[in-house]
């Protein structure tokens, strides 16, 4: 699962013998760092407040489910027959897994989500923008990302692109959650269940909190998920560009 969430160019370089890419490539370094932090967090949640009695079983399920989610693999070991299903985990544990699905793996890998590089560009970009207040207007600043030194214009462009994907991802997640909350039987599923399920569809992961099923999910929900899986795989912007073209050529946009 971890290998699948590392970018293919990095696979190539490692197989060529350049093993330094395991730590010199920003995304690959963060694949291990963020999976480690997320799994440790989930382990803590599951053990101290969750459904597992021994630290080992909490570790086993927490580690596997977080890595499965964040690498967008979708293997699910936490089901009813193995003690407690994912959908009945505490809401904060479910949202931790949903966050893993939201961020995903490295760009250039098989993973979905907004991708690690965009998350890191956003985090570094926000710090860069805030620090800008403390520098004089004449200061020449560079944003360093993955060994590249970006000029202000380049940094602004990359930050903007990451921010657009981030906002669109969240916007469609919210829209999907609204549709599911409207169509699902009231009181049967929590908000955390719904957010989890939409994040799973949009991130092309496949984990389920129990909503998706031939009987449990109404037809409107299935159609919504079809749309989410489609835009998630294409990273939203190409779909919006296509819709704009359709509307513009059809005369609906003007």
């Amino acid at each position: 699962m971890l290998l699948g969430s590392i970018a293919f160019p990095v696979h190539y370089l490692i197989l060529q013998g350049d093993l330094r890419n395991f730590y010199s490539d920003l995304q690959t370094r963060w694949v291990f760092g963020y999976m480690g932090i997320g799994s440790a967090l989930l382990w803590g949640f599951l053990y101290y407040a969750g459904p597992y009695e021994t630290p080992f079983s909490a570790l086993r399920y927490g580690l596997f489910q977080f890595v499965s989610a964040a690498t967008c693999t979708g293997f699910q070991t936490a089901v009813d027959s193995t003690n407690v299903a994912l959908g009945r985990w505490p809401s904060y544990a479910q949202l931790t897994v949903a966050f893993g699905m939201f961020v995903g793996g490295a760009a250039g890998s098989t993973a979905g989500g907004i991708k690690l590089i965009r998350g890191l560009t956003l985090a570094k970009g926000i710090r860069y923008q805030i620090a800008d207040v403390f520098y004089p207007e004449t200061a020449i600043r560079r944003l360093k990302i993955n060994g590249r030194r970006l000029s202000e214009e380049e940094a602004s462009r990359e930050f903007m692109e990451a921010a657009i994907i981030f906002v669109l991802w969240i916007a469609f997640l919210v829209v999907g959650a609204f549709v599911l909350l409207l169509t699902l039987p009231s009181g049967e599923y929590s908000l955390a269940n719904v957010v989890f399920e939409v994040a799973s569809a949009q991130g092309n992961v496949g984990l389920s909190s129990g909503i998706t099923g031939p009987e449990s999910l109404p037809a409107i929900g299935k159609i919504t998920f079809l749309f989410h899986m489609w835009i998630g795989r294409l990273e939203i912007i190409p779909v919006l560009v296509m819709l704009r073209t359709v509307f513009k050529r059809g005369g609906l946009y003007q």
Binding site: I14, L15, G17
Partner: protein
């Protein structure tokens, strides 16, 4: 006739990793999976799969040392 003239092997040699060990691993991989399917899980298939992974990892590490 050379080994590289055979249909599937020539394609792998031409489009593969330009490295005889990686090319061989690429060709042997599906055969091992086929063997596991035919013989089911047994000591022999486990040993084969384990040996395959060990050879792969050792060769990658060897290339890493050579690269330095």
């Amino acid at each position: 006739m050379k080994l590289g003239d055979l249909p599937v092997i020539s394609t792998v040699f031409e489009a593969g990793a330009d490295d005889r060990i990686f090319d061989s691993l690429l060709l042997v991989g599906p055969l091992i999976i086929g063997l596991i399917i035919i013989l089911n899980r047994s000591f022999i298939t486990e040993a084969l799969a384990g040996a395959y992974i060990i050879i792969f990892v050792i060769y990658v590490l060897y290339r890493g040392i050579q690269y330095e």
